[in-house]
């Protein structure tokens, strides 16, 4: 399976890619995936949320990517990333194609091959997948943990079906401020919820990233099909 993925990754690097991005992409492809058999405490989880114009990953535009991490059970402000795809990375000018590619590449470099945590993989993952496929020629298939499906499985005492994120924010008593939240604010809320989830998961002996990813897949599958 990994061999096949490697083959897919290599297959079609688009011709328009600047050299530096192409080199970075190769380097990224060659980075080994982290072991997922270690305890949560030792695993670097990347929490990600996006902003988009519209909800359809295949036709609507991806605007922002906001990511932070949870490692050693804490959120480190220094380990965070924010990308505004409408402006170039260097200045506030509208993004040209090359800078768009660099921005997307920066996300890949930030994430490495760490497990990714978000709310509704179908939405977030869908937008990311299309962007990486179209711009970098990468079939972006990270190890996803989908809180939308995993939370009701782990906190069935607080809610047993897939619900809007705001429900969970309320249940956990988090201060989400008022008004519309930015992608980064969402990411940080997700990161806090994920910190709580790690404690609950460990108590259920789901104590490694691999087990958590399995659990996420199972909860998604079970709830979708039953």
């Amino acid at each position: 399976m990994f061999g096949l993925k490697g083959l897919l990754f290599k297959s079609d690097a688009p011709a328009h890619l600047p050299d530096d991005v192409r080199a970075a992409l190769d380097a990224w492809r060659n980075t080994p995936a982290p072991t997922l058999d270690d305890f949560h405490f030792h695993t670097r989880y990347v929490i990600v949320d996006i902003a988009s114009r519209g909800m359809n990953p295949e036709s609507d535009q991806l605007l922002e990517i906001a990511a932070s991490t949870v490692q050693r059970s804490t959120i480190l402000p220094a380990d965070a990333l924010f990308i505004d795809l409408e402006t170039s990375a260097d200045n506030d000018a509208p993004a040209d194609e090359a800078s768009l590619d660099r921005q997307l590449m920066a996300f890949l470099q930030f994430a490495g091959k760490a497990p990714l945590v978000t709310y509704h993989v179908s939405y977030v993952g869908g937008f990311l997948q299309r962007a990486f496929r179209e711009r970098l020629g990468v079939d972006f298939q990270p190890q996803w943990i989908d809180l939308a499906w995993l939370l009701p499985a782990m906190f069935s005492d607080k809610g047993s079906s897939v619900m809007p994120l705001d429900h969970w924010i309320g249940v956990f008593g988090l201060d989400a401020g008022s008004g519309r939240r930015s992608a980064m604010e969402n990411t940080l809320l997700l990161a806090r919820i994920f910190q709580m989830l790690l404690v609950r998961a460990s108590a259920k002996e789901i104590d490694t990233a691999a087990r958590l990813i399995d659990e996420s897949r199972a909860s998604t599958f079970l709830r979708r099909t039953h």
Binding site: L81, M184, Q195
Partner: protein, 637 residues
């Protein structure tokens, strides 16, 4: 993009910081630095965030949401509170992180809690760069001490003259003859002195007695062993410079503040010329504030003679008073006084056993009355006896004589420790109450078979017995016998009930309280006679009737009510009533009793505040309620 990421995470934190002091007053620059460094961590309810055992504090914690409880670890305390609850916007452990030492408190999340944690080095940098933050932290430490001082003054206002307080000058506190060595003393010689004297630190001073440094055991590790310093080197190379010297006239409070803000555990005390006159340790200061339970237990258990126990007896009283002042409930407090008094009595017995040998003989020391019920208040005289087994019937009197001599010594020693001799001579040194197992049983069944007034009175004292020392099986045997006999004698229980109903709670028909029941004390109510005794008597009857082994009235009522299938909330109301009356007695005895005298139980209800009056009235109603129940159950008219 990463910078932008960090900036936005920090922005999120800033929103929180700006809502809370002192951050709302800090410069944008300082705040930004805080927000960019502060990690966000989650602590589930029940987990420890930082504790005394986790070594030097690595983070400054600021609670974002949730609740954290701070509990003092061990005996060493910086503040008067023993438990403190912290919520969103509050931070900890400021003193420890400032001083770079382990926390003296254990901080535990009592709810799911999120904290911002600023690494210690960033915290220190912030202290340097932000005057607002610096002021906040310094004032915080000072304010805790101030708070503690004010509490102390408040609680001890009446007794202030009797004891040292934090306002006492250092001249009277701590070690007056600290061990001093000259700066040229070789390390080996200094260490030998420390080892021989059994001390952990010594002061280095010149011939003029002006201190130049301090050498402690931790210096031994860091500056001698790990630094590979030869033991021939002079101690001045390994000592820490004398950082903290205070004048003799400075107060204990000054010393405490200095220790807390500079993170040291000793203060050198000097006279006007700067010559060393003493050393005050953190522990010395805390002993001014608190008499610790563990310390008392230790000093009781290790006392070599009765003289040493005298101080412990005084400490028990002091600690009980501190607990009373902190609002500990009557049930816990009386049991706690009993537990320490038990330990004290046991030690007195042990000490006397060195002079009296009863090897090979089965015997036990019994406590009666309130001591037997674990309900001692501050003024409790002795009620005790001895039960023994005599294998050879002929030798009983000779053996009794030996026990009586021994008991007399114990009774006298207990008297010296503050448990006055019993006026009614209910003491083990009285031949009437120094009996064999068989004799006790005969005595018990006589009282039960012929419940005349003296027998009933004796039953109220002797049936509440509890073994304090020796062979508990003898007392268990007595108890089984008593319960069998009592349960089989309805007439005895009915007589007990009639006796218990002789006294009614002092509730007036027109007024709230009847205050003229005691001709010698008009306007007052005897809280023992017309209050707690009613509960105690009823509890005893139901315990005997239902075979409850316990002697404590609260436990008796709880267990007996279970056996009688009474409703839970009903019995709880009764127990609340009893506990309130006991608490009033304790407060009255300590706060209004003359120092050194036996407190009484006479209170003037008009002097109570409105709330206490209402609770007292309700408590008497509860007494009346259980009396009515007793009346019904035993058909007393």
């Amino acid at each position: 993009m990463r910078q932008e990421g960090r900036r936005r995470v920090a922005g999120n934190t800033l929103t929180f910081l700006k809502k809370h002091a002192p951050f709302d007053k800090m410069s944008a620059d300082a705040l930004q630095r805080f927000a960019e460094q502060a990690q966000i961590a989650f602590y589930p309810a029940g987990s420890e965030i930082v504790g005394a055992a986790s070594g030097n504090v690595r983070f400054f914690y600021l609670i974002e949401s949730g609740k954290v409880q701070a509990r003092q670890a061990g005996e060493v305390t910086v503040t008067e509170y023993s438990i403190l609850s912290l919520g969103a916007g509050e931070s900890f452990p400021i003193g420890a992180v400032t001083a770079g030492r382990p926390s003296t408190n254990n901080y535990v999340a009592v709810e799911d809690t999120f904290c911002y944690q600023l690494p210690a080095e960033d915290f220190m940098a912030l202290m340097v760069s932000s005057p607002e933050f610096n002021l906040f932290c310094t004032q915080y430490i000072a304010s805790l001490l101030d708070q503690s001082r004010r509490q102390l003054q408040l609680q001890f206002a009446q007794k202030a003259s009797e004891q040292q307080t934090l306002n006492s000058p250092l001249a009277g506190i701590g070690s007056r003859s600290p061990v001093i060595v000259g700066p040229e003393t070789p390390l080996r010689a200094a260490l030998e002195i420390m080892s021989q004297a059994g001390i952990g630190s010594l002061v280095v001073a010149g011939e003029d007695r002006k201190p130049v440094g301090v050498f402690t055991r931790s210096d031994l590790l860091d500056r001698v062993v790990l630094a590979d310093r030869p033991l021939t080197a002079p101690i001045s190379e390994a000592m820490s410079a004398a950082r903290l010297c205070l004048d003799e006239n400075a107060t204990a409070y000054d010393a405490m503040l200095a220790m807390a803000s500079q993170g040291v555990r000793h203060v050198l005390v000097t006279d006007a010329e700067g010559r060393l006159t003493g050393v005050v340790s953190e522990r010395d200061l805390f002993s001014l504030q608190r008499v610790g339970l563990r310390q008392i237990r230790q000093s009781i258990d290790s006392a070599h003679d009765v003289e040493a126990l005298l101080q412990s007896a005084a400490d028990v009283r002091q600690l009980a008073f501190n607990m009373l002042a902190q609002g500990i409930g009557a049930e816990q407090l009386t049991q706690f006084i009993s537990a320490l008094n038990d330990a004290l009595t046991r030690r007195v017995i042990q000490l006397n056993l060195e002079k009296h040998n009863f090897d090979g003989i089965e015997w036990a020391w019994l406590a009666f009355g309130s001591e037997g019920r674990d309900e001692q208040t501050f003024s409790t005289d002795q009620d005790n006896g001895i039960v023994f087994a005599c294998p050879d019937g002929a030798a009983v009197d000779a053996l009794r004589q030996r026990f009586l001599t021994f008991a007399l010594d114990v009774n006298k020693d207990l008297d010296r420790c503050g448990f006055p001799l019993c006026k009614g001579n209910i003491m083990a040194s009285n031949p009437q109450w120094c009996l064999t197992l068989g004799e006790w049983k005969t005595q018990f069944s006589k009282w039960i078979r012929m419940p005349e007034p003296t027998a009933l009175l004796n039953a109220t004292i002797f049936f509440d017995f509890r073994p304090l020392y020796g062979k508990h099986e003898l007392a268990d045997n007595m108890r089984r016998f008593l319960l069998e006999q009592a349960a089989a004698s309805p007439i005895f229980l009915q007589s007990m009930a009639r006796n218990a109903l002789d006294v009614a709670p002092p509730l007036g028909k027109l007024r709230d309280f009847l205050t003229d029941l005691e001709p010698d004390h008009p306007g007052k109510i005897d809280l023992k006679k017309y209050g707690s005794r009613i509960f105690v008597d009823v509890a005893r009857i139901y315990a005997l009737a239902t075979g409850v082994h316990n002697t404590n009235s609260v436990q008796r009522l709880r267990l007996a009510s279970q056996r009688l299938a009474a409703r839970g909330e009903e019995i709880n109301a009764v127990l609340d009533g009893l506990n309130f009356i006991q608490l009033l007695r304790l407060q009255h005895q300590y706060l209004e009793g003359e120092p050194g005298s036996q407190g009484d139980n006479l209170i003037d209800p008009d002097k109570l505040n409105e709330l206490d009056r209402r609770i007292l009235k309700e408590s008497f109603r509860q007494a009346r309620k259980i009396q009515s129940r007793l009346k019904l159950d035993y058909q007393v008219n």
